[in-house]
Assembly symmetry: C2
Homo-oligomer: 143 residues x 2
DNA sequence: TTAAAACCAGATAAATTTGTCTGATTAAAA
DNA sequence: TTTTAATCAGACAAATTTATCTGGTTTTAA
């Protein structure tokens, strides 16, 4: 197996990155997101609902409703989306599954893995979604 | 969620690291491994069976049987165990779940994630399990 | 030779994650 | 005002992962 993000989180990241490519006050119905990204409609709907609760996106109900970002793209970090969906536990728990892994009671690979995990966390915390607009458009339209 | 290794893989890594701390020709029954590492007996048995098939460990059947490493600890890399259990697909597939993510058709975070993934792969490929003997003993006996 | 202690094999069960369905509510547009 | 198109809520279903059970086979040791 060996995944990093859950499917939900992958889809959530895709969806938010996609929404960041849209014009400002244009709301995006879940069906459109579903089609553009090839994600089952009902599934992405649920994910969008939870991202709405988390305050990352906003929803507009009723006809010609949909979703849009709740903040400026430059204010949304990748880690925000990950935290909302998968949580941050993995950045604080043992990669080998040992109990109570800590600097005090390190697991065998504590050091080696710690470095990598920190780098991953730094990357996700520093990158904001406005940086990915072009690449996202390219990927979605080319793929 | 956000896991890196599956539970199976975590347990497999723990078990092999533990076996590397044992005396050379001493075979280790699955029950002992189960108790030492707090892993359900039947579950770790299955995992040990599959590691046996993969040639990483050897089994001795019958009374006073058990498992031991099939090679010298210095010849077993962490990545070997991961490959045997989880496979290497994740090192070659898109972290955002986009289809056909490649240098040609990169996903939005292709570069950023690629660096991290490569580092993870390098770490797992360079570290051999003999390096962890002491730390493993400490962790198991202290925890 | 026999009993005990281990691995082995395959089925089954439980838990979690992923995905679907139904109907209610909301709000814009005809 | 009514129809239509959307979110929302909660139950349900399927798939995957994790864990357990049962019984068989192997081999040592008493």
């Amino acid at each position: 197996m060996t995944v990093f993000f859950s499917k939900k989180c992958e889809y959530g990241l895709q969806a938010v990155l996609f929404m960041a490519t849209q014009e400002n006050d244009c709301v995006c119905p879940s069906e459109e997101i579903s089609k553009k990204l090839n994600i089952p409609k009902e599934f992405i709907s649920k994910i969008l609902q939870s991202l709405t609760e988390s305050g990352i996106i906003e929803s507009k109900k009723g006809k010609s409703g949909g979703f849009k970002l709740a903040k400026q793209p430059s204010k949304i970090k990748l880690i925000d989306i990950v935290e909302a969906i998968d949580g941050l536990e993995s950045f604080n728990s043992c990669v080998l599954g040992f109990p109570k892994c800590s600097p005090d009671k390190p697991c065998p690979v504590h050091e080696q893995w710690g470095v990598l995990r920190t780098k991953a966390h730094e990357m996700l915390s520093s990158e904001t979604i406005d940086k990915f607009k072009e690449k996202t458009l390219k990927k979605i339209n080319n793929a």
